[in-house]
């Protein structure tokens, strides 16, 4: 048995903002010497797609900083989500925040294990050929085999 610390993460969200925590924490943990596994389930499966097309929205998220105060009904207009996504990406780039593609690649380079939840892949009729290479498939029991031995377990 190795004395390496272990980090287990469950990634459940499929938006641009919430895609960051799992990849930031996993890549950093790997750099610190943790053996790391991310279990992607439900909307988190979107983070595994080769072509990441994640969006961000202020709807239902009053905490999101806005350039100007805007009534919720206006925020719901067609095109607003695309505009917010573009603005968020621009802001991140200008502040030197890594792209999700880069962070995910860093995770792969650091041997972070990525497991897709088989049940939700089937539920949403997702095509594994849309996912990046190296993804493994498993269920709850697969997750617990690793998580049960982990030092840190996060549900994101």
């Amino acid at each position: 048995m190795s004395d390496e610390k272990k980090l287990a993460i469950i990634a459940t969200k499929g938006t641009l903002d919430w895609a960051y925590p799992p990849f930031i924490l996993a890549s950093t943990a790997a750099a610190l010497g943790y053996e790391t596994e991310i279990f992607f389930t439900f909307y988190g499966l979107n983070l595994l797609k080769k072509r990441l097309d994640l969006q961000v929205t202020s709807i239902g998220n009053p905490g999101m900083p806005m350039p100007m105060p805007m009534p919720v009904l206006l925020q719901a207009l067609p095109g607003m989500q695309g505009m917010m996504t573009t603005m968020m990406k621009k802001k991140m780039k200008s502040k030197g925040v890594a792209s999700l593609e880069d962070l995910r690649e860093l995770c792969k380079e650091a041997d972070v294990k990525m497991v897709a939840c088989q049940m939700t892949v089937d539920l949403f009729d997702m095509n594994p050929s849309d996912f990046i290479d190296g993804v493994e498939y498993g269920g709850a029991a697969t997750f617990f085999e690793f998580a049960g031995e982990s030092d840190i377990c996060l549900y994101i």
């Binding site: 950093t28 610190l32 890594a98």
Partner: protein, 76 residues
């Protein structure tokens, strides 16, 4: 400032990239060699202290130079 064997410019990069780049550069270096890192992310000051404590690589120096943060890390 003391001698170093390799230098990494992490200017303009934000968390966690300076740490990840440093880790990657260190893994290509020999034991006892020193890496100099230049960063602009204020969070990197605490992060490099934590990185050193957890990885066993020694943080020889941490300071500011011309508005940038400079670190010297000796590979374990």
């Amino acid at each position: 400032m003391a001698n170093f064997d390799q230098e990494l410019d992490a200017s303009g990069l934000n968390c966690p990239l300076p740490i990840l780049r440093a880790k990657k550069t260190l893994s290509g270096m020999e034991s006892d060699q020193v890496l100099r890192i230049v960063a602009t992310d204020p969070g990197s000051v605490k992060d490099f202290e934590a990185f050193a404590r957890q990885t066993g690589n020694e943080l020889l120096e941490s300071g500011e130079e011309g508005g940038k943060f400079v670190f010297l890390i000796k590979k374990a």
